[in-house]
């Protein structure tokens, strides 16, 4: 557990990706493999220095021992993921209004009038800006807007 805390999430993720990268390119041509392998070596060398060097420079800052601190940010991100999925199902404008209402509630905006006014007006503004003004074909969904 101590090693996991020292490596941390970013370090662990980078090392895992580096190992995947090596397995993906192995056996390929020199130019395909070599640059990536050099980067992988660099990542692993720096990881070793960080993990086994001075404890103060370890990867993780120990926040894995305090998981509650990132509950709200993860919920925020989950709402955004749901928002991305909903866009294709119910269309950009409606999905945006719902997502904004949810996010504002999560950010401790509790007044129903402010929630509805803000989420509605921002959804309409972003729709007009991106779809009408810029012509970006945002997902329409079954309601075609």
């Amino acid at each position: 557990m101590d090693l996991a805390k020292r490596i941390g999430l970013f370090g662990g993720g980078a090392i895992c990706f580096a190992l995947y990268y090596v397995t993906d390119v192995w056996g390929g041509r020199f130019e395909t493999v070599s640059y990536g392998i050099l980067c992988v070596v660099l990542v692993l060398v720096l990881a070793t220095v960080l993990v086994f060097g001075d404890r103060q420079n370890a990867f993780g800052s120990g926040w894995l021992g305090r998981p509650l601190v990132f509950v709200r940010p993860v919920i925020f991100l989950s709402v955004l993921c749901l928002y991305a999925v909903l866009q294709d199902l119910i269309g950009y404008a409606l999905a945006t209004a719902l997502a904004l209402a949810g996010l504002l509630y999560l950010m401790k905006v509790r007044s129903p009038r402010i929630l509805i006014a803000l989420s509605g007006s921002l959804a309409v503004t972003s729709y007009l800006l991106f779809v009408e003004l810029m012509g970006v074909p945002l997902p329409g969904g079954p309601f075609a807007f």
């Binding site: 995947y20 709200r72 991305a84 866009q87």
Partner: protein
Amino acid sequence: MDLSLQAIAVIAAAVPFIAAGVLLGVFSGALPGFGGSNTLIILLPLTLYMEVNAALLLVVGLFVGVRFGGAIPAILINVPGTASGAATAVEGYPLYKQGHANFALGVALLASVLGTLFSGFIALAAAPIIADIALKFAASEIFALTIFSIAMVGQIAGDDLVKGWFAGAAGLLIGSVGVDPMWGIERGTLGFVELYDGIPVIPALVGLYAISEVMMIAEKASTVSAEAPRYRNLSGGERSAEILRGCAYVIRRPIDIIRSMSIGSFIGALPGAGANIASFLSYQQAVTFSRNHEDRGQFTKGNPRGIIASEAADNACASGALVPMMTLGIPGSASTAVMLVLMTLHGLSVGPSLFTENATTAYAILGALPVAACLLLVIGFASIFVTSRLVLVPINVLAPAIAVFGLAGAFAARYLLFDVFLALIFGLIGYVMRKEGFPPQAMLIGLILASSVESSFFIGLREGFGSPLIFVQRPISLGIWMMLIASTLYIAYWKRRQAAQQKAERTE
């Protein structure tokens, strides 16, 4: 001469866009926590649909306006709108509490204008010279320079040198995802066809900056709003007179202004050394060069010289950072990275060839800086009267808007929902990086420069007939490696000394 006239014509036609950019910049800078990078990221897809010169000069105006905008909440509510405004808050907020808010804003305004003017003229003079030298660069120099830039960003942007380098190396690694440039063989794509062209920069930018920042805001979500700034009961005319008194104070301090602008311009040219470093260094120098004991004692109690130092350096740095980006294709910060992406998406080849293939546009961008500075004087003056309410907009209301607009921008790049999910993944990566002390700027710069690093690496090897010694044989590339080693040793020594000083202060 012809070129100058063409550039002037471009600037003259785009003055409304420059003014719009300055106004937008001042307003977005005045929103605490919003920041210039977020505004640029949100505006980026909008500018894709504009004519190229108008889009670029709008962004230049934004660059200039946001620095002064960040000073407004710093002075009025002690919450800087940009990271570099923290030094302004140290002196500006005490002045507000003493009832001299308008005076402080006047000082900040003229210091910002002069800082931008100075660095604009320096950029106009220096950029063509640097571009001319850079045209003679071979692959080994380009390789050395890109590695130097990534290493510098990693060293300076983060608190820990090795963590910064690790983030840069991770950026280089993920920047190689996609088909390799030599043989067209896909690598590291996890089977996704959408990644065959590599990791797209806009979703990465939106994720690493906008989404990770709103996640940080969500973590600290608070219902406490700032206290409304209260001015003395002054009429509009009296407020204007106070602001002008502040401007006059700046004119009476030419040495402070010149020193601060010089520090800012120099720091701006260094990759990774952002405006916050420039403003704090300049502030520190202003304290060091105090005229007498009484003047030194006034620092942190409302000394306007501190505002001059901070704001002039901040603006000079932000404008100065455009030079290495345009001449060498090296973005030193998120803001210049956005500018580089914008120029690339509009079909401009960023780097030394910009000054030969698109010279009119290049000179128009640099020439727009002094124009934006002059417009800032007028727009900034007027905006002081309206932005005092803007500083009260709570950041927990802005955060969802930033997220939604940012994701729409990520979609608008390639019209793929995949890019929205990619932005969210990078958002999570950026959030984790910030929590664990890794600078996201280093990863972003590594990602952007990865293709240059790889292509210059292989071209250099071929020029050297397979020998890696080619990268240290040419004098310019050897000089760059020497600079990298020297700066690494100096920064490591300086950080170690700082840590020892802080430890000694704590034990006392």
